[in-house]
Symmetry: C2
Subunit: 148 residues, 2 copies
DNA sequence: TTTTATGCAAACATTTTGCAGTCAC
DNA sequence: GTGACTGCAAAATGTTTGCATAAAA
């Protein structure tokens, strides 16, 4: 299981508060999509989220709801999407320390990493271009230890 | 017009040679897709490439050919694809110095930049993870000078 | 003449939308 | 009770594939 700084209960509570405050409504589907992402080690596609909800948690969940909710969460800055290059976007919670990804072009494993030098340099570069950084994606493609 | 280190004539000549050597066949369609990318300031989608070929150059060009050719070029490492986040991938030639992108989340302008510190640090990070870096994508999202 | 490339149309995969009904507040 | 949320199915979008023909080597 993925390690987070906040417990799921706390995280869900905070989230429900901010949803209520912004005039939107809570739902079982929203809760479970968060739960699935919170407790997953992987970066999940919309279809995977939907299947886990239906098969593992026996929750009514339509694929349209997953897409709508995921988009909603992205706008609230609660999740991030990742383009693995195989057609379907993957999603992950945005509550850990910021990290980037290395993707093996052979076995498609995703390795997460953080690097302070790169993080700081991105801010410097943005400032140099009169650009207000909100977020960034950095993905390194190559061969992992097992594949080279 | 985008600045390149090689003239289009020279670039096309080199490319045709390496196509011939690898046992594939040259075609007007391949030439024009390269020409369009070479002389374009923008990062173009498959559909845009197709339309420019048909409307501006009056070349027979099917969308399937664009996708097939673009995939072929990517495998030859001649072009790179970019996920702008609006569904359709964008393509650009891979003959300039490596650069990364800043995308304005408001007006969607794409700003190119290079940064040596980041480039070097990526190699260091890859080595630390026993990962053989082949390529990378780094995209900064935020607000450009006009939008903030 | 052999092999690859092409355009077209159909197929496919992912994501979005319209709608009638349901649920949260 | 109002307005947002849901599942379903249909539609839209982006991309790939099959096939008969055309073009390159």
């Amino acid at each position: 299981m993925r390690k987070h700084e906040v417990s799921f209960e706390q995280f869900l509570k905070n989230f429900k508060n901010s949803v209520a405050k912004s005039g939107f409504k809570n739902s079982i589907q929203k809760d479970y999509i968060l739960k699935i992402l919170y407790f997953s080690d992987d970066h999940l596609s919309a279809e995977q989220i939907c299947n886990i909800a239906k098969n593992m948690y026996k929750i009514d969940m339509g694929i349209a709801t997953v897409y709508r909710t995921v988009k909603f969460f992205e706008e609230m800055n609660i999740i991030k999407s990742l383009d693995v290059g195989d057609g379907a976007k993957r999603y992950e919670l945005n509550i850990s320390i910021h990290h980037d990804h290395m993707i093996c072009t052979n076995c498609h494993i995703i390795i997460e990493f953080t690097d302070d030098v790169i993080e700081e340099q991105q801010i410097i570069v943005s400032n140099n271009h009169n650009f207000v950084l909100k977020d960034h994606i950095m993905t390194i493609y190559g061969l992992c230890g097992n594949c080279h």
